[in-house]
């Protein structure tokens, strides 16, 4: 693909009303939806009306007057961006009179603009330049030194883009993008007339302002006033390749804009169905880690973790890996080794890792990091609805009337979806937030929750059951839906259970700490407010009762008839880019791709025929079970692709003990991560920019990842797995990931229609995509549940065993922030550290005062599992009795604190509840110091010996 800009139709598509109008533009007749602007209509016909203040990501404004047209029978020259099409209208866009008027407008703009085009970063990619050409401006009568903007200082505080006021034409596209697209409202136009000026949060500069660096304003800016630093540095791009973000489960698609082999910028793709042209700071800007000097590019091995690493050839590393795994199996048995697939790698790579384990290792000891995030979603939704995935696409939120957000902070975790949700809220949808923290959604510019239920961590099931109590006892349920779609007896049992007085909002108030009236009001709103849509996150799943909570959510949705159409549903907000895909691809020890149990003979024989081996019919070990078995001496070898279990999994001491007890740990990753401190083989991995494949986002949308540059380490990750497989005697012969997808399609009914040529043609597909749903499935369970009848499951509140007491009186809950991703291995290696240089402990002012803790003080955080130190942030965002931190930095290792308690059904760790004490401290704990020393020792790489 050579470089062309995406077409800008000038104004957004009209809101669908079903009606259309026919008109004539420059002699051509055209029929379009009512509400379309004349500017957009002309553009859709292939023409283009000159414009400056209009762009199709934001509503038109009508300030520049460059887009004037003539309309027969109307006086004057209306602005085409603000004038909607009308039946029978006759429009002319190019007349001598219009040309003259436009030239006049342009002349004024140019006379006020520095004419340093030749040295400007945007030269060749500037709309002002283009439009001056388009209107045929040759001469400026007013001189070139309009005093307004010249000589103003640039704001270069943002690490990724610059703001140069002297190039600003005051079109306010940036302001509107920040308001309408992003919803942050960080920009204003200050001052009047010649003194007006774009300003970030009253003149603080971009970095110090509310700006979250999403880039929407930069994209909207027609000039070099807001410009990516990288474009200034490298120059304008000469080709573009569409690919998918490798950070979060929103799955934004981008044009990777290249200059030769160098990535210049990632521009959100307007046709991307998940992001619709928007992005967040991570996907848009934080890709510098791909070229970071810490990346390991050569394979390394060592006999023991106390030795330094030794760089070896790929052949040697692969042969050593295969021989170690075979040696261990010969000595300790077939089931003594296993592997972990990565939610960051592609579907194809994940499929290959589980295939390597099932076919090559001969057991089912495969698990994935979804274990520690959304395994309860898989369990809970498959029990109640029959599929392990969310029910809607992201667009669905625009039809929701009541949005219930539980244990999720989309503003930070799923920013692009949050922007969409906020847009819907600004249109008037109601909002209920159930979260111990006063998250940004509870109150932010132009968005305020109608109800915030700040429940005590660990009481989700009690709270949701109390809402069900209100819905059942006040007869707010949807009887017709239940009768037609659900099992009647199960509903009756459930209704009986939730109606008991012990489950009323009043009865559970002492447990949850939330006023009963507020709970009642929220339940009534959800049940009766129109389309009710539930969005939830890790605050639901990462609990002892994670699976029960997911089922309690599904019960609420079924009881109120909020499943099976647009605008409603149950929507897990998935963390990592491909966590949905990793689950779909058979990464769990008890099931093959498409969620089919390994004991199912028909499915197993399908795989046995395809792979030519007998497969194990017994479920394998999950990650915590593998670590236990390792400590017990029965599990000795582990292949870890693209995960850092030492940092991301709970109870670091337990993980470290398990890893240390193994004889061969193989880590395939970009960096020497924390897990690699315990590894014997390091296989350097590739980034998403360096390979082909697919990711599946939280809406079940399968999207292409495209290679834009050669892998620095020599191989794509799928090729490395194939090398290991072949060294173990498996004879794999894939030349391209499309062949792996063909195999997945052949073996997985829900993926039967997923092939690269279809993805190429459609852009993306939402599974199930097969003969029954050739174009995929945006909304699930229309007309009936996948499992047949919807199943109401009684969810009894069982308090966690992790209890506060005199020594550990506070509850710690953990989470993440916008600018970092998971364990931070990538984002910490980018300029995103400007926003979050360290993990901090949020503590309520009263708890802080009791302990003599002030903002910024070092504090020791101690639980039954361990101790660490970090700095305090005193804030009312957390309730008294609750403290909160992120886990993005290995120096803090929040998981030293988290315990082994986990979800009863899936062993998903209880990250969200740990009893802790917080005390003033004056520096790192002993453990942190020891750990830092050990990590340093473990990362030594021996100098290469001289060649013989």
């Amino acid at each position: 693909m050579t470089y062309t800009r995406e077409t800008d139709h000038g104004t957004p598509a009209a809101i669908a009303t079903g009606k259309s109008v026919t008109l004539t533009i420059d002699g051509q007749a055209v029929t379009l939806p009512e509400g379309t602007s004349i500017m957009r209509a002309a553009s859709l016909l292939g023409g283009s009306i000159p414009k400056l203040c209009a762009t199709d990501s934001v509503e038109s404004f009508g300030s520049c007057r460059l887009c004037l047209v003539e309309v027969e029978g109307r006086n004057g020259y209306p602005a085409s961006c603000t004038t909607p099409v009308a039946e029978g209208m006759v429009v002319r866009t190019q007349t001598d009179r219009l040309k003259k008027l436009r030239r006049g407008v342009m002349e004024l703009y140019i006379s006020d603009h520095p004419l340093d085009c030749l040295t400007c970063g945007a030269n060749g990619d500037c709309e002002l330049q283009d439009q001056a050409g388009a209107v045929g401006l040759r001469d400026v009568r007013y001189g070139y030194d309009g005093a307004t903007n010249m000589g103003q200082a640039k704001d270069q505080s943002n690490p990724y883009f610059d703001f140069d006021p002297s190039k600003c034409i005051l079109c306010s596209r940036c302001v509107r993008a920040c308001d309408e697209v992003q919803g942050t409202f960080a920009l204003t136009i200050e001052g009047m007339g010649f003194d007006s000026k774009v300003s970030a949060s009253q003149g603080e500069g971009f970095l110090g302002s509310e700006c979250v660096s999403c880039g929407a304003c930069v994209q909207a800016c027609p000039t070099a006033s807001l410009i990516e630093k990288k474009v200034v540095e490298v120059g304008t791009p000469d080709r573009a390749v569409v690919t998918t973000c490798a950070y979060c489960g929103v799955g934004c698609t981008f044009r990777a804009e290249m200059r030769g082999e160098e990535l210049v910028r990632m521009v959100p793709w307007k046709d991307g169905k998940a992001n619709r042209g928007h992005s967040c700071v991570k996907g848009r800007f934080a890709w510098g880690y791909a070229q970071h000097q810490d990346r390991i590019l050569n394979p390394m091995i060592r006999a023991s973790v106390s030795e330094p690493w030794r760089e070896v050839s790929w052949d040697e590393a692969i042969a050593y890996t295969a021989s170690e795994f075979r040696r261990i199996q010969a000595k300790y048995g077939t089931r003594s080794i296993g592997g972990i697939t990565s939610s960051r790698c592609t579907n194809e790579e994940t499929f290959l890792v589980q295939k390597l384990i099932r076919q090559g290792f001969g057991n089912n000891n495969v698990d994935t990091c979804a274990r520690v995030c959304h395994s309860p979603t898989g369990y809970g939704l498959s029990q109640t609805f029959g599929t392990s995935a969310g029910t809607q696409d992201f667009d669905s939120v625009m039809q929701a009337d009541v949005i219930l957000v539980i244990g999720a902070n989309p503003t930070d975790g799923h920013p692009v979806f949050a922007s969409r949700m906020k847009r819907r809220l600004r249109q008037g949808a109601k909002l209920i937030v159930m979260d111990p923290r006063r998250t940004d959604l509870v109150k932010s510019p132009h968005v305020e929750a109608d109800h915030h239920l700040p429940l005590r961590p660990g009481t989700n099931v009690a709270m949701l059951t109390a809402m069900a109590h209100v819905i059942v006892t006040e007869k707010l349920y949807d009887e017709a839906f239940i009768r037609e779609r659900c099992d009647g007896q199960e509903f009756a049992d459930w209704a009986d259970f939730v109606s008991q007085p012990a489950r009323s909002p009043e009865a559970i108030e002492p447990l949850t700490g939330v006023k009963a009236d507020e709970v009642r009001a929220a339940a009534r709103l959800y049940a009766t407010g129109g389309n009710g849509a539930i969005y939830y996150g890790l605050g639901v799943t990462e609990h002892s009762q994670g699976s029960s909570t997911v089922m309690a959510i599904a019960n609420l949705a079924m009881a109120t008839g909020n499943v099976g159409r647009e605008g409603v549903g149950v929507n897990p907000l998935r963390g990592q880019n491909n966590v949905q895909g990793a689950c779909d691809m058979g990464s769990f020890p008890h099931e093959f791709s498409g969620y089919r149990h390994v004991s199912d003979t028909a499915t197993r024989s399908l795989f046995e025929q395809a792979w030519g081996v007998t497969l194990d019919a017994e479920p394998g070990l999950r990650i915590p079970n593998m670590l236990d078995a390792a400590t017990d001496g029965t599990f000795k070898g582990l292949f870890v692709q693209g995960e850092d279990i030492l940092q991301s999994d709970p109870n670091t001491h337990h993980v470290a003990a398990g890893l240390a007890a193994m004889e061969c740990v193989v880590v395939q990753d970009l960096f020497l991560n924390e897990t690699a401190n315990y590894a014997h083989v390091f296989l350097p991995g590739s980034t998403f920019l360096e390979k082909d494949g697919t990711f599946t986002n939280a809406e079940r949308r399968i999207q292409r990842v495209r290679k834009v540059m050669a892998p620095l380490n020599g191989y794509a990750d799928w090729e490395i797995v194939q090398l290991v497989a072949n060294a173990m005697g498996l004879n794999w012969t894939y030349d391209h990931p499309s062949q792996i997808m063909d195999e997945i399609a052949a073996l997985t009914p829900t993926f039967a229609g997923v092939h690269y040529d279809r993805l190429e043609a459609e852009g993306s597909l939402q599974w199930p995509a097969n003969d029954a749903a050739p174009d995929g499935t945006p909304t699930m369970h229309i007309g009936g549940f996948v499992r047949g009848k919807g199943k109401f499951v009684v969810t009894d509140y069982v308090p966690t065993d992790e209890k506060t007491g005199p020594r550990f009186p506070l509850l710690l809950t953990t989470g993440r922030i916008l600018s970092h991703y998971n364990v931070g291995a990538q984002t910490r290696r980018t300029a995103n550290t400007a926003w979050h240089p360290e993990d901090r402990l949020e503590i309520h002012p009263s708890d802080a005062e009791n302990r003599g803790i002030k903002e910024g003080d070092w504090v020791a955080l101690k639980s039954r599992a361990g101790e660490t130190t970090l700095r305090a942030q005193v804030t009312e965002r957390v309730a008294p009795g609750v403290v909160y931190t992120t886990f993005h930095h290995p120096e803090t290792q929040a998981n030293v604190i988290t315990t082994d308690y986990s979800d009863w059904a899936t062993n998903c760790p209880e990250y969200k509840v740990t009893a802790v004490q917080v005390m003033p401290s004056n520096g790192p704990s002993d453990w942190q110091r020891d750990y830092a020393d050990q990590a340093k020792m473990s990362r030594r790489i021996a100098p290469l010996e001289a060649a013989e």
């Binding site: 008890h590 479920p619 394998g620 400590t631 209890k803 082994d900 009863w904």
Partner: protein, 77 residues
């Protein structure tokens, strides 16, 4: 539970897990809870873990709750 730092042994953890499953399913009524606890363990625990819990239930008969104990008996049959 005491406030001392605790690291569960694998045996303790398996017992804890079996009891935790049983406790979360108890609201279904005893008969159904035993059956679902048994099928849950059969479906999600690897053979080694299952053998271990069967052995543990014999070694430490009081460690398992009544529902968990019956479920373990069911999977050992």
């Amino acid at each position: 539970m005491s406030d001392e730092t605790e690291v569960m042994s694998t045996g303790d953890r398996l017992i804890y897990m079996a009891n935790q499953i049983a406790r979360n399913l108890a609201a279904q009524g005893e008969g159904e809870a035993v059956a679902s606890t048994a099928s849950h363990i059969a479906k999600f625990w690897d053979p080694h873990m299952r053998a271990r819990i069967v052995a543990l239930s014999a070694e430490r008969p009081d460690a398992l709750s009544p529902i968990a104990a019956q479920a373990v008996r069911a999977i050992s049959a």
